[in-house]
């Protein structure tokens, strides 16, 4: 068997340069050929070593406290939030969010960017097809002017979410994106949605634990928090998730 095409795709994947039809062809090859996936991992390792060409520059000492605050400070907040939810008897459910938030919504715009992501060591998207290429999110009530859409980027094998009309939040809170699997109990944190002047855009890497996607939501969460499930209010929600 001619290995050159496999080696080419593996090299391009390792360098983050795959795009177009080669993305799906390569995913198929890796799924069917253990040697292909092994070569991909080996070349990804080689490519990563290129980063070692950078001279070692001492990181600012203040960065350590900043990172620790970002990671562990939020855990404390999360614990507090969880305790609060338990005390209030809050029952989680997408329908409940929609009702509680009085959600409103919208449609939205395109996506861009072409970074071929290859955090293959642990977060490679193994699904052959990411499903629908475009998902609109709706909002309600106080958030009726918000608009958002999610577009699948086959080149980067991930989604771009773009939103507009987001109300300004106090410094204590942030917008946060959630992905929901076909089983609505599968809810995954996609990170903060940084908004400026009512607009925001974020790239969402597929979570390897999700077999197929049902939709997305955007909630408002305390700044720095890393909640395991969305709180209220939910600002934007895929129509299919309304219960």
């Amino acid at each position: 068997m001619n290995r050159e095409p496999i080696e080419e795709l593996a090299a391009l994947d390792a360098l983050g340069a795959l795009d177009g039809e080669d993305v799906s062809a390569w995913q198929k090859a890796c799924a069917e050929d253990a040697m292909a996936s092994r070569l991909r991992d080996e070349l990804t390792d080689v490519a990563a070593r290129l980063s070692l060409l950078a001279s070692e520059v001492p990181a600012p000492s203040a960065l350590r406290a900043r990172v620790m605050d970002a990671v562990f400070g939020s855990d404390q907040i999360k614990a507090n939030e969880t305790a609060h939810d338990e005390e209030s008897g809050f029952s989680f459910g997408w329908g409940a969010w929609a009702a509680a938030a009085g959600i409103a919504l919208l449609a939205l715009a395109g996506a861009a960017g072409t970074t071929a992501r290859k955090e293959s060591v642990v977060v490679r998207d193994a699904r052959p097809d990411a499903g629908a290429p475009f998902v609109a999110l709706d909002g309600y009530g106080d958030y009726a002017k918000a608009k958002a859409s999610v577009v699948w980027d086959s080149g980067q094998r991930g989604w771009w979410m773009q939103a507009e009309g987001l109300p300004a939040l106090p410094a204590t809170h942030r917008y946060r994106v959630w992905a929901v699997g076909e089983n609505e109990s599968e809810i995954f944190d996609c990170g903060e949605l940084p908004a400026a002047n009512g607009c925001a855009r974020i790239f969402i890497s597929p979570d390897p634990r999700v077999g197929s996607m049902r939709g997305f939501a955007v909630s408002i969460e305390p700044a720095g928090a890393k909640p395991e499930s969305p709180g209220t209010p939910v600002v934007l929600l895929t129509p299919a998730l309304r219960g």
């Binding site: 990563a48 620790m68 890393k226």
Partner: protein
Amino acid sequence: MSSLSSQDDSRAEEFDLLRRIALGERAAFEALYDRYVNILYASALKFVKEDADAQDVVQDVFIQIWDKAKLYDPAKGKPLTWALTLTRNRSIDRIRAIQRRTRLRDEFEAETVMDESVGVREALSGVDASEKGQILRSAVSQLSPQQKKVIELAYFGGLTQTEIAEKLGEPLGTVKARARRGLLRLKELLDDQL
């Protein structure tokens, strides 16, 4: 032999740190931070150029390490490889987000005019004198200028194969072949050395 053994020990320690991070152990996370932060910061700085951007990238990377350590699969690569890949991807995302990509490419183009082999030399600018740096520099120097250029544009410039072909005015198949030959050659030269 002792060097290889030392490398194995170091990797074993890093695997163990990630395992403990996955269990939520703060001390392990802090130990991994102290072990990786300088190299990740330097790597990020290489891409994004600005200190503030590099710090943001490094923070994002460590948050991701904390969040996703439980998904780490040792069979698929070394912890440092994973961390560097995260850093590269976050850096490229940031470059795109702040519309700085054109500037980087222009810089690369300017340097290429001065020296055809500059593709990887650009990546090597400021290279440290460490053994790793020397091994890498030696390996990279053995690639052809065309191979270096494709690797540079893809890995450090964040361009896709199609974009590289358009930029260089070369057929897509040529770009693929250069990427393949270049990276396989690097693999051959670096295997068991780093």
